[in-house]
Symmetry: C2
Subunit: 240 residues, 2 copies
């Protein structure tokens, strides 16, 4: 196993880590960080790579360092639904369960920092801080899931699209914002992904996107780069 230097400060590996300040690791002190770092592994995955299969055994958890991961569920006849999107520095994994109930797949190139399941679970028992941090993330994911239930159940196709764009704009952060009310970002999802997320077909997604473009609510460049000149107008379309 790789040696990690502990000079009384945080491990070298973590010093430059994007997840250090905002991810679950922020709940750990130096000693714990060292311990975890010893067992950790940085990995990269290409867009489209499966990270976790339904009914697969879980033996590692991971922090997302960069990129976007989609969580999906599939019905027996192939219909698919994305049930969550995770952005850096989210924690990936479902404690207290040995089998996954969903699929995780990279929708962009991603980098992960993964740990053995039992290391995390031991530290959770020792550190209420860590457990609380994970508990909070679970509650946030629950809030998000419930927001999406409203979107899925009660919004029209165009409202769904607008809501998704808005959500992504928030998640990529207020980076690339000129004047607080505009946004500009690369879609981390294909049309098919968007359809799976919103419970629509790719055709409907496409049509609604061109509608938003025709109405000058958004500009689309290269099919993937989205520019929102006025987030308030987009918000009005989202039905909130």
């Amino acid at each position: 196993m790789r040696k990690v230097v502990n000079n009384g400060a945080i491990p070298l590996l973590c010093a430059s880590c994007e997840g250090r300040s905002t991810g679950v690791c922020s709940a750990l002190d130096c000693d714990q960080l060292v311990e975890l770092a010893e067992a950790s592994r940085k990995t990269a995955a290409k867009s489209g790579a499966a990270l976790l299969g339904e009914a697969e055994r879980i033996d590692r958890y991971a922090n997302i360092l960069s990129g976007v991961v989609k969580l999906t569920k599939t019905l027996s006849d192939g219909r698919q639904q994305i049930v969550g999107l995770q952005f850096a520095p989210d924690f990936l994994g479902r404690p207290f369960r040995s089998e996954s109930t969903l699929n995780a797949e990279a929708t962009t190139d991603v980098t992960l920092c993964s740990f053995p399941k039992d290391a995390i679970e031991r530290m959770m028992r020792e550190s209420p801080e860590l457990e609380r941090r994970l508990y909070r993330q679970a509650l946030n994911e629950l809030d998000e899931a419930r927001d999406w239930m409203v979107t899925l159940g009660r919004k029209t196709a165009s409202e769904k699209i607008a809501s998704l764009l808005l959500m992504i704009a928030h998640h990529v952060g207020p980076s690339t914002v000129a004047g607080r009310n505009s946004a500009r970002f690369d879609l981390p999802l294909t049309r098919a992904d968007i359809a799976d997320f919103l419970g629509l077909t790719i055709e409907t997604v496409s049509r609604q996107l061109t509608r938003l473009r025709n109405d000058k609510i958004i500009c689309i460049e290269n099919n993937r780069l989205i520019i929102v000149p006025d987030l308030r107008r987009l918000n009005a379309r989202a039905g909130n």
Copy 2:
């Protein structure tokens, strides 16, 4: 404040409590139970009573002792979506947040055992057991929410109805089951509630229910009592 006898055993109030063995209280030891019992309050609410409003201040949490509670969200134009159903002995409340982001309403007559927010939060800090118990419930609710996202996004109206009946059959428990594969239960929801839960209209709900009845998958008595002679056939209709 009411005095609770502590003879070294569990408080009298809790001794006969339905939530004692299975609810969050099961994570507490005698002393903690006594402490919580001192601040607790048993209340009853009629079907239809609002328990918690959106954007309302949260100052108490509660255990559901009996009955069913619906959690709803509403769009500005009045469209409503049920984002969760809670059955006894679920814990009602959203830790780490002072304002509610949803409405809670009794869909049947319910009895609750409520506690001040800060009492729970203090005990959570003192008892990792309790925090873990709540964390687990949050994860379960998250799993359920994600299952419903699939239902809302990808299932047809009749599959939605079948899924809901199945879910309720599971929740009321294997009580009233003759031979493991049949079920018989009172619907704790009106047609309007069902519609709000499944993202449908009451008319569609009604039509699909009569379709299931015509196909002999279910019997409906008094509009509320549902009998499922063969759960497997219902399951086949649910699209799993």
